[in-house]
């Protein structure tokens, strides 16, 4: 059969990792085709007028942490291609029911002053952890995000010789909850740190061996930034970088099969019957199961690998989102105590103690919606007014939930979520009003929910609504993500590589899986690297 097109490389999936891998390869002079199942490129970089025209809602990722340290941002000149960022001074706010609260700032001294009003000891502990780990994070941890994960013996061997390294290894044997309990005394501080790990990063408090991420958050080596015009603007910049490098992107092109001949990936077939030939390699930037179960076919794999693949653990929780079109910005009661609360980028509303958290997780693990509705909230138009019509605002509320619901009528997960959607939306708004009483019906022009079922319908790689594309448990991170034999982005199939978020370092807009995949492909095929490798 004649191929519809022949390219050096075919990348499946135009999420940010696919676009990044494809752009590095295109700029080596290779011909590169990206095939995207959806109409829009960008994956989780989604901005839509979900409530009403003129109100921009970032349905998935709404802030980006690693722009300052992300090699692709620099190498692909994404700022020149139109990506602009705003870095709010006040990164996090935790208002409390008793009217107090605290804020985390880019300015370390401001953070300490704010925490000290709740606990002087915690302010000191926060400063100590931040100062003690910052250099280590900058020089060891962040570069580690952007390289293929080395085997554990290399890591421990290198770390155990320095005091910070040894301590990092120690934290790697604890849970985040243990580290937080040992470091801070105030429950609100403890809960706030744990919430920052869980909702946007997928690391739950009781995950054994994940304690070392606590200093990553506290050291603030990552700074959360808002993409001007919405997160999808970064997708446009990536698209421009790719197309300007001569790349070809096809939307609404659903891959159904990776053609394998003599254990080598030869190209891909689409749902509409077209087939594209890849002369050098196929790179999958989709999900693990999609890649192997649907595109490759389990019959092409060693049964032992198949079993291990199918045992890959998915996320333990999903997010129920409420997107708001607002006539006015929220005014938090606790702003009387700390005015900076009203201008924070991210807000933790309702998880005031680690126990609140533990209760919610217990419910989620029993496939129930937690009784206590806590919110991870943001009001992006406060920072980037272009995301709402003049005088209006946008808001988003996320609450952690299970994907499967027990005891709810409905044939499918979609039906079940449709059944509970209205009620849960109302509960989210009720929680918001506890902390920001002006968020009554007059202030809300429109509120629309995005359920876990919606997430998985839109993004099949976000299986069961899991935005992290695989649980970040100790046995599924670093050298073990997704499995040791796949952790170097190569597969048992020749010329088939992996660039999805199921690879190290995981989900979120880091660009790392795509970046690392491009390095590995370039190394294997002897491509001249036009960039300076991190």
């Amino acid at each position: 059969m004649t191929a519809t097109g022949t390219f050096d490389f075919i990348v499946i999936g135009a999420g940010h990792n696919g676009l990044i891998a494809a752009s590095y390869l295109a700029r080596t002079g290779a011909s590169v085709l990206i095939l995207e199942r959806r109409l829009e490129a960008g994956g989780g970089l989604t901005t839509e007028e979900f409530t009403r025209g003129g109100f921009l809602h970032n349905l998935h990722s709404f802030f980006h942490d690693t722009i300052d340290v992300m090699p692709p941002f620099r190498d692909l000149k994404l700022a020149d291609h139109g990506a602009r960022y705003i870095c709010p001074d006040v990164q996090v706010a935790v208002p409390l029911r008793d009217g107090r609260g605290y804020t985390i700032h880019n300015d370390a001294a401001a953070t300490e002053r704010s925490i000290a009003r709740l606990s002087a000891a915690d302010a000191a502990a926060y400063a100590e952890m931040r100062d003690g780990y910052r250099e280590f994070m900058e020089t060891i941890v962040v570069p580690g995000l952007y390289s293929a994960p080395p085997p554990p013996s290399h890591v421990t061997g290198a770390l155990e010789t320095s005091p910070e390294g040894a301590d990092y290894l120690r934290l790697s044997r604890s849970t985040p909850a243990d580290v937080v309990r040992a470091t801070f005394e105030n429950d609100a501080i403890r809960a706030g740190v744990l919430f920052q790990l869980a909702v946007p990063r997928g690391i739950l408090p009781d995950y054994a061996g994940l304690g070392m991420v606590v200093p990553l958050v506290v050291s603030q080596i990552e700074r959360s930034q808002v993409c001007v015009g919405g997160s999808h603007a970064l997708a446009h910049a990536l698209w421009r970088a790719f197309v300007s490098a001569g790349g070809v992107l096809r939307g609404m092109a659903e891959v159904t099969k990776i053609e394998i001949d003599d254990n080598r990936a030869r190209g891909v077939t689409l749902a509409n019957g077209e087939w594209y030939e890849a002369k050098r390699a196929v790179i999958s930037a989709t999900g693990l199961r999609q890649t192997f179960k649907h595109f490759v076919g389990l019959d092409k794999l060693d049964p032992k690998l198949t079993r291990r693949l199918l045992n890959y653990k998915l996320d333990e929780f999903s997010l129920f989102g409420v997107h708001l079109a607002l006539r006015e910005p929220p005014r938090f009661s606790a702003a009387a105590f700390d005015p900076d609360i009203d201008r924070a980028l991210k807000l933790d509303l309702g998880f005031e103690t680690p126990a609140d958290f533990a209760d919610a997780l217990a419910a989620i693990r029993k496939r129930r919606i937690p009784d206590h509705t806590a919110l991870y909230a943001a009001f992006p138009s406060l920072h980037d007014p272009s995301q709402a019509p003049p005088g209006f605002h946008t808001g988003l509320l996320w609450t952690p939930v299970p994907f499967h619901l027990d005891g709810v009528p409905g044939e499918t997960d979609f039906d079940k979520w449709e059944h509970v959607k209205k009620d849960l939306l109302a509960r989210c708004l009720a929680t918001l009003r506890i902390y920001a009483p002006n968020m009554a019906s007059d202030a809300i022009l429109s509120a629309r929910a995005l359920t876990p079922a919606d997430i998985s319908l839109k993004f099949p790689n976000m299986c069961r609504g899991g935005v992290f594309m695989g649980r970040l448990s100790q046995d599924q991170i670093e050298f073990f993500r997704p499995l040791p034999e796949l952790s170097q982005h190569r597969t048992p199939i020749d010329a088939l590589y992996l660039a999805g978020s199921f690879c190290h370092p995981g989900g979120g807009i880091t660009g790392a899986p795509g970046y690392i995949a491009a390095q590995v492909v370039a190394d294997d095929l002897g491509l001249t690297k036009w960039w300076e490798q991190s």
Binding site: E49, S386, K458
Partner: protein, 546 residues
Amino acid sequence: MNQTYDVIVIGGGHNGLTLALYMAAAKLKVLVLERRHEFGGGLSTEEVTIPGYYHNLHSNFHGIMPFFPPYNDFNLARRGVRYILPEADIGMPLKDGRALILYSDDRRAADSIAAFSERDAEEFLEVRRRLAFHSAEVLGGAFSPPAVSPRQRLFLEEEYGRIFGDDVLDHTAAEWVERHFENPHVRALLLYHMAICGFDVRLPRLAALGIGYLAYLTNWQLCVGGSHHLAHAMGGELLAQGGELLESRGVKQILVESNRAVGVVTVDGTEFRARDAVVSSVDPHQTFLDFLPREALDPTFRKKVEAIRYGHGDVLFGAHVALKEPPHHIASAGHPDIDRTWNLNIGYETPEDLYEHYEEIDRGELPKRPRLNAGVNTLFDPSQAPHGRHTALIWQFAPFEIGERGGAAWDSLGDDYARACVDAWREYAPNMGGDNVLAVHPYTPYDIARKMVNMRRGGFHVAAISHDQAAENRPIPELSGFRAPVTGLYLCGASQHVHGGILSSPGYNCAQVLAEDLGVFDKLPFKSKPWWPAVERWREKMAKIE
């Protein structure tokens, strides 16, 4: 980023992109600035009901594919753009179980008409024959800048008279249709076709326009993967041609120095300089009244701009529907093809049904009995919904302002009215309700104006079509030549000849004018078929009169 360009285009809709593509092809350094977070303007496809269900929020039925000049000149097929022409292109089921279907094959269309009136079937074939002969001239007129002087205007009328027959110029489209066709249902379908092109068929002296639409009557085509696909291809081609395109860059000011447009300032305060031209593809109100300093314009001219009318005959309420199965019409019992007809007239069974809506809208009322322009894209392009599922589009003519309650009343009325529209369809297709309807998303004229600010008062033609805002008068005589009274400032949006809709003619016509002014006309890749020879003939005729 280099902030000095040869040409800066305000607005990244398809007309702005068209103009930019031709200028980039002429090796000028071009920047397009788009206010919204997405470019493409009315080429907008979004998952507004349920993820995986794609809905064309604005243009859905593309009428001149594949004759769209940039499609040919820039080989957009190579960028993955594909169109489908449904065999049963436009039609109407009737309550009594009959159906009138106009197939893309005229012979079959005439057979369907003959069941209503043999005479009308013959007249239909005669009109189509006459228009086929002249269709290149029709496109030629649309794709060349209109004449401006009174002498040229007389010539133009003569020319239209020659094409359409001497008796047409003074008539309304409605009169012409009623004169030529006898059966009320045939009349209704033809008038419906003209009306959804976005003009009030009762307005004087617009018969020629309506007849022009009959030249492309059964050429409604569907962009595979959604209309926004075409925007992606145009944007990608622009980058490949060396042009630049930035979103979320609303313009707040056009810089004028010594009565010359020299650049723009965006709302974030960034200044972009233009050596040769600033071209606005947005509406004349924003261009002249918002972006230019008051003193840059003659007060009489400003008054004329203020008086441009927006939103008449082109204001639509949309309802987007996610479906389990496609509509199954009662009329399909005798006419199975009606279930596979794309552009559907649901309910305008006689011309009076249409006139009744016009009258309600004139009074600022919501039409009480919705009658629809509808279509199910997924019958032809299954990629627009999850496997086996369907999407449906509903358009309903509507007022922008609802009585004294104004446009904001739409915010509370949209949901119910969308349901009422689906119910109106249900009278013709009983499965359009109950469990089969998974979700309905209203899209009101007020939403349209909020989202696409150049579609003032919700009108998709940007300046409403009337005899005094068409052709050599579009949108006012002073601007019909695409040049603004400020040197170096041009207009290429839907307010310009020929009008809105996915035609690209305003962008294409402006490209001709601008290229001549900049001395790069010979560098343009104008090689499109079939109308470019006709455009050349028009251009020669115009030049002789000067």
